[in-house]
Symmetry: C2
Subunit: 393 residues, 2 copies
């Protein structure tokens, strides 16, 4: 399997696997228990929290004081808590919210839910490269804007938004700023102080950690009400007995991130460019989506005109190439990508688009295999298509 779907999920790092198997031998304690087994688990929890906090520049909590980093059940849940939690803590007088049309369903559907609760939501458009412009944000901000949520890097086209500038604009009118950094973590530096955001969400399984564990950054001093109700875990921010395997795995994945961060990402980008060059030279009627000037490394979203995306995907899969037609979280939907159509692609071309995302374990040989196989598959599919023939493809 040539795995080029690292934005959907990543392979578990061998180091993470090792840590998890060792942890299972070390302790089964409940971090809330007062005796030795509990203390052991509590120590591991604190260590893991510090490690994950460090990877984004947040203040970790200790035994007595809550810090800025809280674990949650997934990136999706982290998004939900980061948006719902602070709104529940406000007095409810500010009823206006801002997000963008290209957010992940975890954010988009949370805002749709908030609309039903009586909030007014502005969904900012994007330009042809997938950027929310600062001007459109400036134009939408109001005195009664409670919160703005704009993703750091898009999961389908990889476009990076100017989060620092956006957060500054939001703060000028007294609004909170949240960013979904699930796709950014591990690919570009994520520093909460540098970005000056109030809330940020991340997830372990996009950085070679386990699935089912996310985390939320909540700026020191910011009040946030729990969205899940229960005990005192995670300093009351997210009750429920801690997913210790997920947490310990997340921390190990974060530790690995910091090793060779730049070298690894330069390699991902080199392979992505090799792929783009190879495809450009051997396949006609294609174009690449996203913002070349501001894109996460390794991200290639390409439109193969006159080819039905799902057929192409299936043919690629049969040749052992794993990639996708959009977000894994919208798989099964037969609608064209909401991100690509928002960028102005005609629906038919949005449906002819494929995402290849290079990861830590991909090799040049794999890319060469893709560059060799893809043109043959595209050619074969176009031969079967009257529209392709009519357009000389």
């Amino acid at each position: 399997m040539n795995y080029f779907d690292n934005s959907a999920t990543t392979q578990l790092a061998p180091e993470v696997k090792e840590t998890l198997c060792a942890y299972m031998d070390k302790t089964y304690g409940n971090p809330s228990s007062p005796y030795r087994e509990g203390r052991l688990a509590r120590k591991e929890l604190l260590r893991a929290r510090a490690q994950v906090a460090q990877s984004i520049g947040a203040i970790p909590g200790d035994v007595d004081n809550k810090g800025e980093l809280f674990f949650a059940g997934s990136g999706t849940e982290a998004d939900n808590i980061a948006i719902m939690g602070p709104l529940a803590a406000l007095d409810g007088s500010k009823r206006h919210l801002i997000t963008s049309v290209i957010e992940h369903p975890a954010v988009l559907n949370t805002f749709r839910h908030l609309e039903k609760q009586g909030y007014e939501v502005d969904y900012l458009p994007v330009d042809r490269m997938g950027n929310v412009t600062l001007d459109s944000l400036k134009g939408a901000l109001r005195a009664d804007t409670a919160l703005v949520s704009i993703m750091y890097a898009n999961n389908e086209v990889g476009t990076i938004q100017p989060i620092r500038e956006m957060a500054e604009l939001a703060h000028e009118v007294g609004a909170l700023f949240h960013t979904d950094a699930v796709q950014a973590l591990g690919k570009i530096p994520v520093d909460v102080k540098e970005l000056d955001v109030d809330l940020l969400s991340i997830s372990a399984h996009k950085i070679y950690g386990p699935k089912g564990i996310g985390a939320i950054y909540v700026k020191e001093g910011l009040d946030i009400k729990p969205y899940i109700h229960g005990g005192h875990q995670e300093y009351g921010v997210r009750p429920g007995t801690e997913n210790m395997l997920g947490i310990v795995g997340f921390a190990t994945a974060c530790k690995l991130l910091l090793e060779d961060f730049e070298v690894r990402n330069a390699k991902k980008q080199r392979l992505a460019e090799l792929l783009m060059k190879g495809l450009s030279e051997s396949v006609s009627h294609i174009y690449f989506n996203g913002n070349d000037e501001s894109k996460i490394p390794g991200h290639v979203n390409v439109t193969f005109k006159y080819v039905e995306g799902e057929s192409l995907l299936m043919s690629l899969n049969l040749k052992g190439i794993a990639c996708s037609s959009g977000s894994a979280c919208t798989t099964g939907s037969d609608k064209p990508s909401h991100v690509l159509t928002a960028m102005g692609l005609p629906p038919i071309e949005a449906q002819s688009s494929i995402r290849f995302t290079v990861g830590r374990y991909n090799t040049e040989e794999e890319v060469k295999y893709l560059v060799q196989e893809i043109p043959l598959i595209v050619e074969r599919l176009r031969k079967l298509s009257p529209i392709a023939r009519r357009n000389g493809a």
Copy 2:
């Protein structure tokens, strides 16, 4: 460590550890992905769902149809979704809810949140043995009761409630019935059809599975709105990329439950009785809490009069005995147990109470050690207490 806190959490079964380490080698796929790695994960997810569903008699979902069993991030989250989800799907005209005063914080705090949302909540009392009476439920039910939530077995005293009869009463007025079966699973039969409940929550880490994974039973045909907003995962009931390690571990734990269910629980009960007999014979001024006629096997909650519970707990811990003064989810609170005080214990005696919960891996030797050590510790502590001496203890 003599681990007698199996209601707080359980040791990971070696079989579960083995399965998890093997799974990490098998696939890293996202169950939503269409290619081989995704298909592998999807197959494991379906298999796990079927296994967990089987353990409670629920209908598992398949690729095309949602069944009755959905995974969540913990038992706490399962409780939250099971209560909030169906209420969000109702038209909101029924504004009355019923629960009991001895529920877990995951349920109690969810109802407190619902009170703030304008619901009227009746918190039913319990008798001296920790039972909610059918009469009190009958008296509280109204035509506008939307939902009733009563736990199957209590986490502090082990008392089992007559859930089947309670669900029947709730259904007579058209109310939904939810039960938190987190402490019941693995100790007494949990059969959703037999109990005829509409909603039920369970958790893996109480049955020798991993922490951070729970599940919700939702009766076929019952409408439930997602509480977490996002993608299509878990048939839309609980979005977020699936915690595959947790899910696979949960399933293995459920499979193990069904093996030697009765033999194992008879052993737990035999050891619990040995412990109670030993303490009764060697320690004066003690009494046991809970309902002897209707209690989960292995559960011993004992009040040592004239001894401060926290000091006793610490002394026990120093002797390598792990047990607790109440729920792990309320650790750190200096209030007397809300369960014991609701049962009528004076606060001072509630604070002199310790919970020992026997698990699958406990031995007779360990119980003998407890019976040998505990009287010495209690005697030493009472010697230091003027109140104990005044009362001849």
